[in-house]
């Protein structure tokens, strides 16, 4: 039994029942969905909230005096407030809806960084970033003459703080790093990273996509400048996410895209931009997505993030132990502080073959480079298999994975 009081009474099987898709049969077998780090599934409550919005309340927001438009506007506004509460942002003026983490990072790269960066300025990343937190910075570096640098990771997949501090200098303008590594599960010490970066005058963006579904995030406590995340990794819909930005920074930034909703007045001579957060939300927003995102936050709150965290950590320990006992299996990424993600390789079987065999057994894992090619390069592997856990994961999913790995060994002889 788990001694963590936060975990007491957590009924994973009951949580599992909240997610209709998990009851599906895959190739005639029960589904063991271990790919939540790529995209989590949605509970019935989120599906119902989006459905209810579409069936009863939809109209465009901020545009009409008719009742439906008022209702849609109210729901959209409420969703923004729920997102603010979820990560304890200071104000809804700091909460910008985007298509997701990738768009959030691109917004900061183009609207904050591009006008400010000078030739030779430095953008500091870490060795375990997702491509979404590398490529936007390379683009802006190409546009401005700035330089992208990365703090390396060690063999466990850990970023050493002293090494990070040593990479900061008077030319470091921006630090961009993951809160939790998608490929390895490493939890980065973002509070210290932010403190060190601020001490050298750099602005910090944290890619929180893999963090927010698994642990409590308090942006005011972190003193974070920009924080990006996506709804679809936290039981919400695809195509919606948020950028949380420090109000003083957002105020000083030019709009990123132009269009409706982001303006106050337009003439052919001059346009007055709307106030925050609307200045960064050109065009009709993803209203149903925002409604779904708010419902996902309600769902997470109904379980309790601390209890979800404790449940996933317990599964992580159990799965690590069981996988370590599989002959020829190597776990890639062994940081002491990890989210419930296990990347691994199996001797003599390419991860892609493994993915196909596991799928035939109903076990869904991610195989490939996880959009983190530099991480794969560092560990000298072309790809890994990755099992990732969520609030609905059960011990039986781990057993299904281990049994499917034995089946793979059988096929390959």
């Amino acid at each position: 039994m788990n001694a963590d009081p936060a975990y007491t009474g957590y009924d994973a099987q009951r949580v599992w029942h909240d997610f209709p898709i998990l009851a599906r049969q895959i190739h005639g077998r029960p589904l063991a969905f271990l790919d939540s780090a790529a995209s989590s599934q949605r509970p019935a409550s989120v599906i119902a909230a989006v459905d209810d919005y579409e069936k009863l309340h939809h109209a465009n927001v901020h545009r009409g005096v008719h009742l439906l438009s008022q209702e849609a506007t109210q729901m959209f506004k409420h969703a923004r407030e729920r997102v603010r509460e979820f990560v304890n942002a200071a104000s809804t003026r700091e909460v910008i809806f985007t298509r997701g983490t990738t768009e959030s990072i691109n917004l900061v790269a183009q609207s904050y960084a591009r006008p400010r960066l000078q030739r030779g300025d430095e953008i500091l990343l870490t060795g375990l970033e997702h491509h979404a937190n590398i490529v936007p910075w390379q683009l802006v570096a190409g546009q401005t003459g700035a330089v992208v640098k990365a703090v390396p990771i060690d063999r466990r997949g850990v970023v050493d703080l002293a090494d990070f501090a040593a990479h900061l200098n008077e030319r470091t303008r921006i630090v961009a790093c993951a809160h939790v590594s998608n490929a390895l599960g490493t939890v980065l010490p973002v509070r210290e990273i932010i403190r060190l970066a601020h001490a050298r005058g750099a602005v910090v963006l944290i890619d929180g996509a893999q963090a927010v579904p698994h642990q409590r995030v308090d942006l005011q406590a972190l003193d974070c400048d920009f924080y990006a995340f996506s709804a679809h990794k936290m039981y919400g819909p695809t195509g919606i996410g948020a950028l949380i930005g420090r109000e003083s920074l957002l105020e000083a930034m030019p709009p990123w895209q132009g269009g409706g909703d982001m303006i106050l007045t337009v003439s052919f001579e001059q346009t007055t931009f709307n106030v925050l957060p609307f200045k960064f939300e050109a065009g009709t927003p993803n209203i149903s997505g925002a409604v779904g995102m708010a419902a996902a936050i309600d769902y997470i709150d109904s379980l309790g993030l601390d209890r979800i965290h404790a449940h996933e950590q317990r599964l992580l320990k159990l799965a690590t132990r069981k996988l370590e006992a599989v002959p020829g299996l190597t776990i890639i990424g062994t940081a002491p502080d990890k989210a419930a993600v296990i990347s691994f390789t199996l001797d003599g079987i390419h991860p892609h073959d493994l993915g196909t065999i596991l799928d035939s057994e109903g076990v869904a894992v991610r195989t490939g480079h996880h959009c983190a090619m530099p991480v794969m390069e560092f560990f000298g592997v072309p790809a890994t298999a990755r099992a990732s856990f969520a609030c609905y994961s059960r011990e039986s999913d781990i057993d299904a994975l281990v049994a499917a790995l034995a089946r793979a060994r059988e096929v390959f002889g």
Binding site: H350, H352, D353, T367, P382, V411
Partner: protein, 147 residues
């Protein structure tokens, strides 16, 4: 979905012990192939004797399907004329991609790849070597991509 249809004994054997593995030096032509989806990388070198591929080798890293397919391909095309290779390529392509295409008798051991068509996401694994060979034949030294 039967795994044994994908991982037939011939495939597993050629994955474990790839034939014509390595590089020819000197070679008349070579090409790199890369499948970004799974990280597979192949390199093909070949020697030409007039219109014939008199000898060839492949090396690289990849999944069982891509390694076995490359090994089987090298065995099948060695000594063949360009036109015969094109004919084989078209037949293999048809077998890999068309669900109900008959498997031609002259495919020989390459017929073992016909199970791949039941696994659409794996077709690119099996065809990477053929695209790489084509590139080498066209004397292109640009990396080939299947994505």
């Amino acid at each position: 979905m039967d795994l044994k249809d994908l991982y037939r004994d011939v495939i597993l054997d050629h994955n474990k012990t790839p034939r014509l593995f390595g590089r020819l030096e000197p070679a008349d032509s070579s090409a790199d192939g890369h499948n970004p989806l799974c990280g597979d990388r192949l390199h093909v070198t070949l020697r030409l004797d007039g219109d014939r591929v008199s000898d060839l080798r492949f090396d690289g890293k990849g999944c069982a399907i891509s390694v076995a397919s490359a090994s089987l391909m090298c065995e099948a095309v060695k000594g063949k004329r360009r036109s015969e290779i094109t004919h084989l390529f078209n037949e293999v392509h048809e077998v890999l991609t068309k669900h109900d295409a008959p498997v031609p008798d002259d495919l020989g051991k390459l017929a073992a790849l016909s199970g791949v068509r039941e696994f659409p996401v794996r077709v690119k694994c099996a065809s990477l070597c053929w695209h790489t060979l084509n590139a080498a034949l066209e004397r292109s030294h640009e990396p080939v991509k299947t994505e």
